[in-house]
């Protein structure tokens, strides 16, 4: 089976570029002509019975001349993109491309297409990943894993570039082409260049040239509409909270005055007292109490790429955008190559940064779920409440929920499933969210 899987993997990785070359070479009428040739060859095989062989020879001549006239395309172009810095998975973004004709000849009837970076899944990924709805496929499809490979390629390439007609470009002139792309998946979208294609005179095939043009764009996770959620928990005392102070909340509450000590910031000088006494007097404020929530993302997966994980990331992104962070803090905690805790809110950092982080988070396949416990325990004292986004509900996850409960941190637990049933818990209220339709589950939050 191992050998067979390797064979499939090699065949697909070889066949995928061949498929691209075929699509670049064939125009739609070319496919129709090919199908017609095959049909004519079958029906015209017996030349004593039918005259279809005459159609076959006509089509064969057409095919040969069209193919030969599609081999030469010597025009030269220069291209330049104006891309946005970020995009969102599943949402169309638009940009412009400047195409310059470097020849002394007018160019018309050309086709433009983006060249994405062709990154193949690794063999392990091919072996372990599971396409959404794969279990519903028939045995043959499941065995050959062709659809899985196609799905993985779509996830890796992130876009499905479409052909677009180029307007007429005058000799040594340029045009601005307005183009649109829809990324399928979060992460870094890499564009390697553009194709300029020219259909041959008969319109069956295309000649094409590639213009290298490398660009990158960050694709943020897909976000779902989430109703305003009532997050659990109360304000907590934050030692050193002053460092996080802004002009909002309790930070301006006066506590006492004292003499200047080296290291005190100048902005804390109480100028009125300084004027009165002639000494440097420092104003002391109340210690700070504010709300700090944790968003714990369960990144632990047995498979490299799953729809479940992507949904969990999207939910985390949606929550990060929804929770108002002007007067509270939000800690995003997850484990990838190590345990991360990223704080946003109260001017420390923007939610946008958190989304950028989530855009690049990858599933963690080499660690166990309990690796996140120390991180949570470290921050537990400061947390007012917690939202956990789990990919399953098992003993380890239950332990984390119990740990939070023992520390008196109220938690909202979301479990992303792929159709499987989760046993309801007596102690914890679980929000089950189906990866196939997360909007439904999130609306019930």
């Amino acid at each position: 089976m191992e050998r067979l899987n390797r064979f499939f993997y090699k065949t697909y990785t070889w066949g995928y570029p061949a498929g691209i070359r075929r699509r670049n070479r064939f125009a739609k009428p070319g496919y129709a002509a090919s199908a017609a040739i095959i049909a004519a060859a079958i029906f015209g095989m017996n030349t004593l019975q039918t005259t279809v062989y005459q159609l076959f020879t006509l089509l064969a001549a057409l095919f040969i001349f069209a193919l030969f006239s599609s081999f030469r395309f010597r025009a030269r172009f220069r291209a330049e993109r104006k891309l946005p810095t970020i995009a969102t998975a599943g949402e169309k973004f638009s940009y412009t491309v400047r195409i310059e004709n470097l020849t002394d000849k007018k160019q018309l009837g050309l086709i433009f297409q983006e060249i994405p970076n062709l990154r193949f899944p690794t063999y392990d990924e091919f072996l372990l990943a599971r396409e959404p709805g794969e279990l519903k496929r028939n045995r043959w499809d499941r065995a050959v894993k062709f659809h899985r490979f196609q799905w993985l390629m779509k996830q890796h390439i992130r876009i499905s570039p479409k052909e677009q007609e180029l307007p007429e470009i005058g000799a040594n002139s340029y045009v601005h082409l307005y183009s649109e792309l829809t990324p399928h998946r979060r992460g870094i979208l890499e564009l390697n260049g553009v194709y300029i294609k020219r259909p041959e005179p008969l319109g069956l095939f295309k000649a094409f040239i590639q213009i290298p043009l490398h660009d990158r764009i960050l694709v943020l996770p897909k976000r779902y509409p989430i109703p305003s959620i009532d997050l659990p928990g109360t304000r907590k005392h934050h030692t050193g909270g002053v460092a996080l102070a802004s002009a909002v909340g309790n930070t301006n509450e006066f506590h006492s005055l004292r003499e200047y000590q080296p290291g005190d910031p100048m902005r804390r000088l109480h100028w009125k007292s300084v004027a009165k006494t002639g000494e440097l007097i420092i104003r002391e404020n109340e210690d700070e109490y504010f709300v700090r929530h944790a968003l714990i993302l369960d990144t632990f997966a047995t498979e490299p790429t799953t729809n479940r994980f992507e949904t969990a990331v999207s939910i985390a992104a949606s929550l990060a955008c929804t929770i108002r962070t002007q007067d509270s803090l939000l800690d995003l905690m997850f484990v990838e190559d190590k345990a991360y805790c990223f704080t946003a809110g109260r001017g420390i950092d923007h939610t946008a940064k958190m989304l950028e982080l989530l855009a690049c988070v990858e599933p963690c396949t080499d660690k166990k779920f309990p690796d996140i416990f120390p991180l949570v325990a470290e921050h537990a004292a400061l947390l007012s409440g917690c939202i956990c986004i789990f990919q399953t509900w098992d003993d380890d996850r239950r332990k984390l929920a119990e740990l939070l409960s023992a520390r008196g941190i109220p938690a909202k637990i979301l479990v992303v499933t792929e159709g499987e049933t989760i046993e309801p818990s007596d102690r914890f209220s679980l929000h089950i969210i189906d990866a196939a339709s997360p909007e439904e589950g999130l609306a019930k939050l």
């Binding site: 029906f43 004593l48 039918t50 005259t51 006509l58 057409l62 001349f65 009837g109 005179p201």
Partner: protein, 651 residues
């Protein structure tokens, strides 16, 4: 990829014209283009598409059922011909669908059940597919029409015009189209020629005799049949009854579509009466006729070519001979030996088994046509002898011999077309029709295949039997005996000979040579062996002579080389070398490989008073002349004189 307006309708009319279904095609074309007049559109969902697909499936089943009822043998072609009608509901539904496309997933029962999403099989425009189907169906259903290629070409040009690339000029496009059309035409005519060449080649190379139990005729082919002039075998007449002697290979009793079978006629081994002698049929009187048949390199299973009423085969080199009740005799010839045997015969096909019910059977598909034809001639009311005479006369007067089948015809079967419509055909049609007509009148009849010995070569003193002499005729049972009845109209032999070319003579000569060669090789006197021994002796003598001559030539060349070397050596003892030695001893040696003139120039610069450099240069010239000219003696004397002069000068 939309097809241009009216293209589909015109394609359908073309299909109707080519297949003779114009009656269907006109309303179909109107239906396809109706959406241009009726502006109303519907938004069709999966369920609607499923219903339309079901309707198409019903049409397909109806066509299949119709073809099965009509006893159609080639269902694929029959269904292919009706493709435009079968796909009509789909194309009309697409024209009236709001999106102008077809839900592809609905075409598959499996995908329909799975409720496959639109993303997986996006809706597609099927009009190009329908256009191709119309062209295919026109090709499948036409009568070898000469208008098919021009029609298809024009329609293809129309379709291609709409998708041409704007990048190129119209002139270039038109040039490519003309080139494509001409190449397509040349290719299809070339394909035809190639196919005939292949057929001729395979006929020559394989040269297998027919299967004694089954023979497939060319009945039903739509194109002109091709005959070839190459020689298959030779017949040496000893005593023969008439000029056009029939040589039968096999006789068959059951007809189906286009194939004749020898049913209930198992092969049985025959025992020789003497070495090489095989009695096929016992007779009281001595048969009056005999011929000798010779065939070169027969391969595999050999069927004996037997004149009618062959009683005995003599001098046949085989260990086993098999015969069946139809008088067919065959044997295995793995060694590809020359076939050379003598037959004695009575000229009446007496070696046939008595008639049985199979000799009266007519296929159901043919009954209607046979009945109609028989009624026209009122055959049922006539005696068997009269029937035979009427048929002979009618076929001779009212029918023509033709190898051109001119398409499929309007009748259901090729036999019906031959009898009721065309009244022209080749021998297989005449023979098969005669058999069926005789059977219809209650006269047992069989179908025989073989050759006619009609071309006598006075040079070879043999009848030459060519591929075009292959023939089919009828064996009829009258008055308790079997008779041969050849109803093929008129001068078919002359007509077939019309395509003879001048080059045929070369082929005949080659065939004669190889035939004689094989005869010699396999003759009992071993003439070929003796000739080969003589040839080897001559060859050895020739080779020896050549070798001796070569040796002499080599010797002469070596002598020449020695002379050449001596001449070269002449210059090496030039007196100049002594002078060079003397100058070297004075302290001015010549550097290795230093040219003499360079050396002289160097000396002149370094020691201008050493010697007379003008003389030295002259001397060098003479030395070179001595070394490389053809007159060394003269130059050697001059050289010595100058050296002597110089010797006095060297200080």
């Amino acid at each position: 990829m939309k097809t241009p307006p009216l293209l589909l309708a015109i394609s359908i009319l073309f299909w109707g014209w080519q297949t003779g279904l114009l009656f269907f095609a006109v309303p179909m074309a109107v239906g396809i283009e109706l959406h241009r007049l009726v502006k109303k559109r519907w938004e069709m969902n999966r369920a609607d598409w499923s219903k339309v697909t079901d309707f198409s499936a019903i049409l397909l089943l109806s066509v299949l059922a119709h073809d099965l009822l009509q006893d159609e043998k080639q269902l694929v072609y029959a269904v292919g011909k009706m493709l435009p009608l079968i796909l009509l509901p789909l194309i009309i539904a697409q024209q009236f669908n709001l999106s102008g496309k077809t839900d592809i997933a609905a075409l598959s029962l499996l995908e329909r059940k799975k409720k496959t999403s639109v993303d997986r099989y996006p809706p597609a425009d099927i009009s190009p597919a329908y256009f191709i189907a119309a062209l295919l169906a026109a090709g499948i259903g036409n009568d070898a029409s000469e208008f098919y290629f021009p029609g298809v070409f024009l329609l293809a040009v129309w379709a291609l015009f709409s998708i041409r690339s704007r990048h190129f000029s119209l002139g270039l496009w038109a040039a490519l189209i003309v080139l494509t059309g001409s190449t397509g035409y040349l290719l299809h005519t070339g394909l035809h020629v190639l196919e005939e060449m292949m057929y001729e080649y395979s006929s020559r190379m394989l040269d297998y005799d027919p299967n004694p139990f089954k023979t497939t005729t060319a009945i039903g082919d739509i194109r002109k049949q091709k005959l070839y002039n190459f020689i298959l075998f030779r017949v040496k007449p000893e005593t023969i009854p008439n000029e056009n002697l029939l040589l039968c290979e096999a006789t068959y009793n059951t007809f189906n579509s286009r194939t004749w079978y020898a049913m209930n006629s198992p092969a049985a081994d025959l025992k020789p009466t003497a070495i090489g002698n095989w009695t096929l049929h016992e007779t009281d009187q001595t048969p009056p006729y005999s011929v000798r048949i010779r065939k070169r390199n027969p391969k595999g299973r050999v069927i004996l070519k037997l004149p009618p009423g062959t009683t005995e085969v003599q001098q046949l080199r085989t260990a086993m001979l098999q015969t069946n009740s139809m008088g067919t005799a065959s044997f295995e010839n793995p060694q590809k030996q020359l076939l050379d045997y003598r037959t004695v015969f009575t000229a009446e096909p007496s070696n046939q088994s008595p008639p049985n019910e199979l000799d009266l059977r007519i296929p159901d598909a043919e009954i209607a046509a046979i009945n109609r034809f028989s009624d026209q001639l009122q055959l049922k009311t006539k005696s068997p002898e009269q029937v035979v005479k009427i048929l002979e006369a009618h076929f001779a007067n009212e029918f023509n011999y033709s190898l051109d089948h001119k398409g499929k015809g309007k009748q259901k079967t090729p036999i019906a077309n031959f009898l009721l419509e065309r009244k022209a055909g080749h021998c297989e049609l005449f023979a098969s029709s005669t058999v069926l007509l005789l059977r219809y009148c209650g006269i047992p009849a069989r179908y025989a295949v073989g050759y006619v010995a009609a071309e006598y070569s006075p040079i070879e003193k043999h009848y030459l039997i060519r591929q075009r002499h292959a023939h089919a005729w009828t064996r009829v049972y009258l008055n308790g005996r079997w008779h041969d009845l050849d109803t093929t109209s008129g001068n078919w032999l002359e007509q077939d000979a019309e395509n003879e070319t001048f080059f045929r003579r070369f082929g005949d000569f080659g065939s004669f040579l190889s035939f004689q060669f094989q005869r010699l090789r396999e003759s009992d006197e071993n003439i070929l062996g003796k000739a080969a021994a003589a040839l080897i002796i001559i060859l050895i003598a020739l080779v020896a002579n050549r070798l001796w001559k070569q040796k002499r030539k080599k010797k002469a060349v070596e002598t020449e080389k020695t002379v050449e070397l001596e001449i070269i050596r002449n210059g090496l003892d030039s007196a100049f070398y002594q002078l060079e030695k003397q100058i070297a001893e004075k302290g001015w040696p010549r550097a290795p490989a230093e040219p003499l003139f360079d050396w002289a120039a160097r000396l002149q610069q370094a020691a201008p008073n050493l010697l007379n450099y003008e003389s030295l240069n002259r001397l060098i010239n003479l030395h070179y002349a001595l070394r490389f000219s053809n007159t060394p003696q003269i130059t050697a004397e001059k050289l010595q004189r100058i050296i002597d002069e110089l010797n006095g000068q060297v200080k």
